[in-house]
C-alpha cells in the first residue's frame, strides 16, 4: 500500500517543522535562491536597506517573544539594542575581539541586563510596565553619554568590529575570484543570522518553554496552578528578548560603522522602541515570521523616504529636493507614518500581515470552495 508523502502516521511526522508538502519545499528553495541571488543583482542602496531590515527582524523577533508570546509590554527595547551596539564598539573595535566572541558577548550582556529588568514585570503590568521600561532609555542615554572610557562619550565612537568567521571575512568577502562589497558580505552574514534566530525561536515557542510563555500571557493564575512559574518565565522572556535586541544592536553598529548615545536614549531611543513595536504590530503580534514581514515594511520605510526626499519634492517637507520651506522634517514625517501604520493595523488588521498570509493560504487550501 502506498501512502501520500504528506500523510501523518507517527508523532514524529506530526511534529515536523519542515512539512513534506511540495509547496513548502518549493517555498524554502525560493528563499534560498533569493538569499544567494539578491545581493548580486540589487543596488548598493537596496542591499543596505535589506541589511537594516535584517537587523530590525532580529530585534523584532526578540520583542515578539516578549510582547507577542509572553504579553509583556516594553518600551525599553532600544536600550538593549544600544547595549549590543556598544559591545560591538568596545569589545569588537577597541579590543579587537573576533565576531564569534563579541557577538555572543553582546547577547550575554543584553540577556543579563534584561534578566535584571524582568522582576519589575512581576509587580507591574500593561502601561505601568511600559513606563518603567521607558525609564531605561533615559538611564541608558546617561550611561552611554558619560561612561567615556567605554562608549566614547557624547561624540560617539567609530565601529570597525571584525566580521570574520574562519576563512570567511564578511567585511571583505572573496569567494574564488569574485570579490563582494562590504554591504554584500553583511547581507550574507545578517540574513544567515536571521534564519538561524528564526529557526531557534520557532523551536522555542513550540516546545515546553514557549508553551509556558504563552500560558503566562493567556491566563497567569491558571498557569501558576499547573506548575508554570510566572516569575521564572517572565524573567526568562525579558532575558531572551534583550539578548536578541543586543545581537541586533551589534549588527546595527557594524552597518552604521558608528554609534552615539542619542541613537538609543531619550527621544530618538523612544522612537526606535516604537519602531520595533510597529514592526510586530504590522507584521503580526504572536507570529514569529510576522516579525520579519513587519521588518520589511517598517525597517525599509524610513530609508526609502529619506532616499526619496533627496530625489523628489515632497509636499510640506523641508530639506527635500524641492528646497521649499515646509513644516515637516523627513524625520517627523517618518514618525507620523509609523503612528498611522500602528493605528491602521490595530483597527483594520490587528493580527498583522501574518493574518493576511494565513487567509490567502486558507483560501487556496479550500479552493474551489469558499470555506
Amino acid at each position: 500500500m502506498t501512502k501520500a508523502r504528506t500523510m501523518v502516521t507517527k508523532y514524529e511526522d506530526d511534529l515536523r517543522l519542515f512539512r513534506r508538502s511540495r509547496w513548502y519545499q518549493v517555498g524554502i528553495l525560493l528563499l534560498l535562491v533569493a538569499y544567494l541571488l539578491v545581493p548580486t543583482v540589487a543596488s548598493e542602496f537596496q542591499i543596505d536597506v535589506l541589511n537594516r531590515v535584517g537587523y530590525f527582524a532580529i530585534g523584532a523577533i526578540g520583542l515578539n517573544l516578549l510582547t507577542g508570546y509572553t504579553g509583556q509590554v516594553s518600551l525599553g527595547h532600544a536600550f538593549f539594542v544600544g547595549v549590543g551596539a556598544y559591545v560591538a564598539a568596545y569589545f569588537g573595535t577597541q579590543h579587537g575581539w573576533p565576531l564569534l566572541a563579541w557577538l555572543p558577548m553582546a547577547a550575554l550582556l543584553g540577556g543579563l541586563i534584561g534578566a535584571f529588568i524582568g522582576p519589575f514585570a512581576l509587580r507591574l503590568r500593561g502601561q505601568y510596565l511600559a513606563i518603567i521600561t521607558l525609564g531605561l532609555l533615559f538611564v541608558g542615554e546617561h550611561v552611554f553619554d558619560n561612561w567615556e572610557s567605554v562608549t566614547g562619550g557624547g561624540a560617539g565612537t567609530q565601529v570597525a568590529a571584525p566580521l570574520k568567521i574562519g576563512p570567511l571575512d564578511f567585511g571583505n568577502l572573496k569567494l574564488g575570484s569574485t570579490v563582494y562589497s562590504r554591504n554584500q558580505g553583511l547581507f550574507f552574514l545578517i540574513w544567515a543570522v536571521v534564519a538561524i534566530v528564526l529557526l531557534l525561536a520557532r523551536n522555542l515557542v513550540r516546545t515546553r518553554p514557549g508553551r509556558a510563555l504563552q500560558a503566562v500571557r493567556d491566563r497567569d493564575l491558571a498557569a501558576e496552578i499547573i506548575g508554570v512559574s510566572q516569575a521564572r518565565y517572565k524573567i526568562s522572556a525579558f532575558a531572551v528578548s534583550s539578548m536578541l535586541a543586543a545581537m541586533a544592536g551589534g549588527f546595527y553598529a557594524v552597518i552604521q560603522q558608528y554609534v552615539s548615545p542619542t541613537e538609543f536614549g531619550g527621544q530618538v531611543g523612544l522612537f526606535l522602541s516604537i519602531q520595533f513595536i510597529a514592526i510586530i504590530i504590522v507584521g503580526g503580534v504572536g507570529t514569529l515570521f510576522g516579525s520579519v514581514l513587519g521588518a520589511f515594511v517598517v525597517g525599509a520605510l524610513p530609508r526609502v523616504i529619506e532616499n526619496l526626499s533627496t530625489n523628489v519634492d515632497l509636499p510640506f517637507v523641508s530639506g527635500d529636493k524641492g528646497g521649499d520651506p515646509g513644516f515637516l522634517t523627513v524625520f517627523s514625517l517618518n514618525q507620523m507614518l509609523f503612528g498611522l501604520l500602528i493605528v491602521a493595523f490595530l483597527l483594520f488588521e490587528p493580527r498583522g500581515l501574518a493574518a493576511v498570509w494565513f487567509r490567502i493560504k486558507a483560501y487556496f487550501k479550500s479552493w474551489p470552495f469558499s470555506y
Binding site: R208, A215, D218, R219
Partner: protein
C-alpha cells in the same frame, strides 16, 4: 468501587477571612484515596474558596490542610501542582490562544524538563519529550473525545468542548487529587451525561476527586460522600442520601417558613 478508608487529603478547622467577612469557618473534612467527594451549597457558600485554599491561592488564617501528610497552608500554587493537585475552573481557565494539544501538553509541564536552550535546539531532549508526552496527551484526547479539535484554538470552540478540554488539561497532570469546579454548569442534559461518564471513568482509574457542583441530580448520582456548606460553615457530611434528607440542608436551600 474502592473501599480503602485511608485518608488522602485532610482539612482541619480551616477558617478564611477577607477583612471582616468569614468566607470559611471551621471547615474540616477528609478525602479518602479513590473517593469522589462532593461539596454542595448555595451561591456564596464558600465552595470555590475551599478550592482556592487547597491550591494555595488563598491562605487561610487558621487551620491546616495536608495531602498525604504534607502541609499545604502557606505554600505557593506551584507547590500544590508538584504534589499532584490538579484543578478545573468554574469560569474556564484555558489558554485561549493555544490549540487543544498545546493546552493538554501544558498539563504535562511539570513532568517535562526541556528548558530554553534544549527547546530552541529541538533535536535531542526536546524532540524526545514532545513525542513521549504527546502519547499520554493523545490517550486523554481519546478518552474525552476531543479528536476533531486537536489543532483548533480553544477560544473558538463551544463552551461544552472547552469544559472537556479543561478537564483534559487537569488529567494530563496525572494528578493524585483532582478538583472539579462546576464541571457541568451551563451544559445540556446530553453534555452533562457525557461529563458524568468521563468523571466516573477517571475515578475508576484511581484518581481521587473533589467535585463542586450545583447539579444535584448529578452529585447524588455519582458522589461517594457529600459535604454541604452554608455561609462557609459545614452543615452536613455523609452519603448523598444522608445529606439529602438532612433538615439543615433543606433549610439552607429552601429557606424555612417563619
Amino acid at each position: 468501587m474502592m473501599t480503602s478508608s485511608e485518608s488522602l487529603l485532610s482539612v482541619r478547622d480551616v477558617t478564611l477571612r477577607f477583612g471582616g467577612v468569614a468566607a470559611l469557618t471551621g471547615v474540616s473534612f477528609d478525602v479518602r484515596a479513590g473517593e469522589l467527594f462532593a461539596v454542595i451549597g448555595p451561591n456564596g457558600a464558600g465552595k470555590t474558596s475551599i478550592f482556592n485554599c487547597l491550591n494555595a491561592v488563598y491562605r487561610p488564617q487558621e487551620g491546616s490542610i495536608t495531602l498525604q501528610g504534607t502541609e499545604l497552608v502557606g505554600r505557593k500554587p506551584g507547590f500544590t501542582a508538584k504534589l499532584g493537585i490538579a484543578r478545573t475552573f468554574q469560569n474556564l481557565g484555558l489558554f485561549t490562544n493555544l490549540d487543544v494539544v498545546d493546552n493538554l501538553m501544558l498539563g504535562r509541564h511539570l513532568r517535562m524538563r526541556t528548558g530554553f536552550l534544549a527547546g530552541a535546539v529541538w533535536l535531542g531532549r526536546a524532540r524526545r519529550e514532545e513525542i513521549e508526552h504527546r502519547r499520554r496527551v493523545e490517550e486523554i484526547i481519546e478518552l474525552l473525545e476531543l479528536e476533531p479539535y486537536r489543532r483548533t484554538h480553544v477560544g473558538s470552540l463551544p463552551y461544552g468542548v472547552q469544559k472537556r478540554i479543561e478537564l483534559g488539561r487537569a488529567l494530563a497532570m496525572d494528578p493524585t487529587l483532582l478538583l472539579l469546579d462546576e464541571p457541568v454548569a451551563g451544559m445540556n442534559l446530553e453534555e452533562t451525561g457525557d461529563m458524568a461518564r468521563a468523571i466516573l471513568s477517571i475515578q475508576a482509574s484511581g484518581v481521587s476527586m473533589i467535585l463542586v457542583e450545583h447539579d444535584m441530580q448529578m452529585v447524588m448520582d455519582i458522589a461517594d460522600r457529600v459535604m454541604a456548606l452554608d455561609f462557609g460553615i459545614p452543615i452536613a457530611i455523609g452519603t448523598p442520601a444522608e445529606v439529602q434528607s438532612d433538615e439543615r440542608v433543606i433549610e439552607a436551600y429552601l429557606g424555612v417558613a417563619s
